[in-house]
């Protein structure tokens, strides 16, 4: 424990000295995040500086091994770093699907060469990734995908279409599920990586009901991909995908609930101060559910870290968390009344409440629908027949 105390005080001092004041302001939206990439756009010098300083210490990915650009911190040290960052309100220096999704998969399934090549780039924020999973004909039935990769001896030839590719129009590379065999539905899928500038790759943003376009359709027309850009075994990409989906669901479950700080999630009622007794009653019922869920989140992460969580429990969390978040935004709209219905006025911050509300409707669809999560819980946790 003494070592950890020393680490804490050193970390605290370093953060105090190095985290720019601007980077201690709360983020107002996804747009405030630092996404990195080949041609990064920084909102400020402070943002760039903060990312670079943290990357230098490997603290953009503190728990990754030092060899791959990480901080090499233990679980306990990582926790201390997070606590100390939270203490001063320090923003995350880098947000990326490379860190949250591809990285863990590469660490588990990648070759030494792949790890050495890709992980440090990710840690330094020099590459921005997107995820090519869903297809128009394969939504909930992810494994029903049709994008085809033909073995052409020295390369794969990829043809097909993906949909719901987050920020594909801004990504440098994609990690992508493709069909390399039609003999088996699940065991004919491979997990490939390739550059979005490869000839034959094109993207088209999808306009959402919120008016924003965070997702794209992504088209592959005779895209050539080198053989060594498959992660894991050929035809066994489904194992990689499933591993990665678990991470994604945990992340989504925690979205919009103000983090996982137990009762720290805060009260919606306190934020809204409802002046209507009937609305107040609904908000109080929501607060009970949200504060209870916050306690569950805290417990779940402890159990998860300790290996005591059921492998299917992220599905339970994803389901409960996203349904709760939708309900939260319904109540925000109810409290906002006609003010919240304005769509393009300055007063409404360009319809922020309404757009955020519409955005949450996707929470229970993306990353596996609520129905899919319930199927998983019924089958894998409850052991119900034929589920």
């Amino acid at each position: 424990m003494a070592d950890l105390d020393i680490f804490r005080s050193e970390t605290r001092a370093w953060l105090e000295a190095n985290c720019p004041a601007e980077m201690r302001e709360p983020m107002r939206s996804e747009a405030d995040a630092c996404w990195g990439g080949r041609n990064p756009t920084f909102q400020s010098d402070a943002q760039r500086h903060w990312m670079e300083l943290m990357a230098e210490r490997g603290w953009t990915v503190p728990h990754w091994p030092k060899d791959y650009g990480g901080g090499g911190l233990s679980t306990a040290e990582t926790k201390v770093l997070k606590e100390e960052m939270a203490r001063i309100g320090a923003r995350s220096p880098l947000t990326s699907f490379g860190i949250s999704m591809l990285g863990p998969a590469l660490l588990k399934f990648g070759t030494e060469e792949q790890k050495k090549h890709f992980l440090p780039e990710i840690a330094r924020g020099e590459i921005r990734w997107c995820q090519g999973y869903s297809e128009p004909g394969a939504g909930s039935d992810l494994a029903g995908l049709a994008t085809k990769a033909e073995d052409k001896g020295d390369h794969w030839l990829i043809n097909g279409q993906k949909v719901w590719t987050s920020y594909a129009d801004k990504a440098d590379w994609i990690f992508c599920l493709v069909r390399t065999s039609t003999e088996s539905k699940h065991q004919g899928i491979s997990f490939v990586l390739f550059d979005m500038t490869t000839p034959g790759v094109s993207t088209k943003p999808i306009k959402l009901i919120s008016g924003y376009s965070p997702f794209c359709e992504t088209f592959f027309d005779d895209v050539k991909v080198p053989k060594d850009q498959v992660v894991g075994e050929v035809n066994r990409g489904w194992d990689v995908a499933k591993y990665l989906l678990g991470h994604e669901r945990e992340m989504i479950a925690g979205m919009g609930l103000g983090g996982m700080g137990g009762l720290g999630a805060g009260s919606l009622g306190a934020a809204l101060k409802p002046d209507n007794a009937l609305l107040r009653a609904d908000i109080a019922a929501f607060d009970v559910d949200a504060l209870a869920f916050a306690a569950m989140s805290e417990r779940f992460f402890e159990m998860f870290k300790a290996g005591e969580a059921h492998p299917a429990s992220p599905s339970m969390m994803k389901y409960a968390g996203t349904e709760l978040n939708k309900r939260r935004h319904e109540l925000v709209m109810a409290a906002g009344g006609s003010d919240a219905l304005e769509w393009d006025s300055e007063r409404s911050k360009n319809g922020k409440n309404a757009r955020d509300w519409l955005r949450t409707k996707g929470n229970s669809i993306e990353g596996g629908t609520s129905e899919i999560q319930l199927n998983i819980v019924a089958k894998h946790i409850l052991g119900l027949p034929g589920a």
Partner: protein, 374 residues
């Protein structure tokens, strides 16, 4: 409650055919939204409403209208809801026409309404919530007329309306029904700030900064504005309930169709029992909401003193059910339901606006409690 008469069935069919042909999202809502129309609806379509006599649906026959009631208006509004048709039908032909019924303003304004040349808006709300009794906008006598000071918001079609029926306080204090006066405020008299709502419809925030009106702007009598206002609100709320039933039914029909087409895991998703039960539950709820909306309309038409209660029940129930219908609709459509390209999201947005209009579910549940004596 009697079933629909043959005349009513015919009206319903006419409206259904007309709005399915002319009033759907591609021809109307999306078209006007994507071309930046400042009215938020098509005036040509409104003229067709007039040609069919629908703008005069609630106007007495001896004044040139169809002389029909809230039940008939509900039949048309359900079709408007089903097709998401943007139009000033609810504010002008239903709530507005009822407000001025039997007053001097009827003679002045009905002719324009009948030919589709005059659009009315109702200015009631002064904050984010609906609470007509709490009206604070002041109208003070000056000389032969009045001077109005205050502000209104969520005035649907207020940005393009020819006349804005505005509730103001001439005596008493916020909370009293007595002391309110309804004014017919002509276009241009007050400062109108146009606002686009989430469903792409247009409304206004209006500032009354020493707005001077003649005495004949008063609808009905000074201090007795509650009477015409209550007529307008009952008609408007029952109408909004009927439109919400249409929104729910439209979203639900679209969703059930999708369940019969979309395949996942080698099966039609409509084969999954969990979705079947949710769809079946929703179906029943829509039937119930429709019955409640028709009951409210019927009691208004028969002058029954339970009409106010029935209207509150109808508005609360229809908003609840429509909210369920659009939420289930988007969820069951999956990813495609989140795209602007698909119409199901338009139902979600329309429901939000209609649910709020003339009082949300909380307002109307509370009203049910108050009217029931608890």
């Amino acid at each position: 409650m009697p079933l629909l008469t043959d005349d009513q069935k015919m009206l319903k069919e006419t409206a259904a055919g007309f709005l399915a042909d002319e009033g759907g999202p591609a021809k109307q809502l999306r078209h006007w939204r994507d071309t930046g129309c400042t009215d938020g609806y098509g005036t040509e379509l409104w003229k067709k409403f007039a040609e069919l006599g629908l703008t005069g649906i609630c106007i007495p026959e001896d004044q040139g209208g169809l002389g029909l009631g809230s039940v008939e208006a509900a039949l048309v509004l359900e079709e408007i809801g089903r097709n998401l048709t943007p139009s000033p039908f609810l504010t002008t032909a239903v709530a507005g026409a009822r407000a001025i019924e039997g007053t001097a303003h009827a003679e002045r304004l009905y002719p324009g309404i009948l030919v589709g040349d005059c659009v009315l808006a109702l200015a009631v709300d002064e904050s984010r919530g609906h609470s007509p009794e709490k009206t604070g906008l002041s109208a003070e006598r000056r000389g032969n007329g009045f001077v109005l000071n205050g502000a209104k918001q969520f005035v649907v079609h207020g940005n393009s309306a020819d006349v804005i029926l505005t509730v103001a306080r001439t005596s008493g204090s916020p909370g009293d029904r007595d002391g309110l006066t309804l004014f017919a405020v002509p276009k241009g008299a007050a400062e109108v700030d146009s606002v686009t709502l989430a469903d792409s419809s247009k409304a206004a925030r209006i500032k009354f900064d020493n707005v001077e009106l003649d005495a004949d702007a008063v609808v009905s009598e000074v201090d007795n504005g509650w009477t015409p206002l209550a007529r307008a609100l009952n008609a408007g709320r029952a109408g909004a309930a009927a439109e919400l039933v249409g929104v729910a039914a439209g979203a639900s029909t679209m969703t059930v169709e999708y369940l019969k087409q979309r395949k996942q895991f080698g099966k039609l998703i409509g084969e999954f029992q969990a979705l079947q039960h949710r769809a079946a539950h929703l179906h029943g709820e829509i039937e119930i909401a429709r019955a409640a909306a028709l009951k409210a309309a019927e009691l208004i038409d028969s002058g029954d003193d339970r009409a106010e209660l029935a209207v509150a029940v109808a508005k609360a129930k229809a908003a609840d059910v429509a909210s369920l219908a659009v939420r289930e609709g988007v969820q069951m459509h999956g990813g495609i339901g989140m795209t602007d390209e698909h119409d199901i999201g338009l139902y979600l947005k329309r429901e939000a606006v209609l649910g709020e209009l003339f009082g949300d579910v909380y307002y109307h549940r509370n009203k049910v409690a108050e009217l029931s004596g608890y």
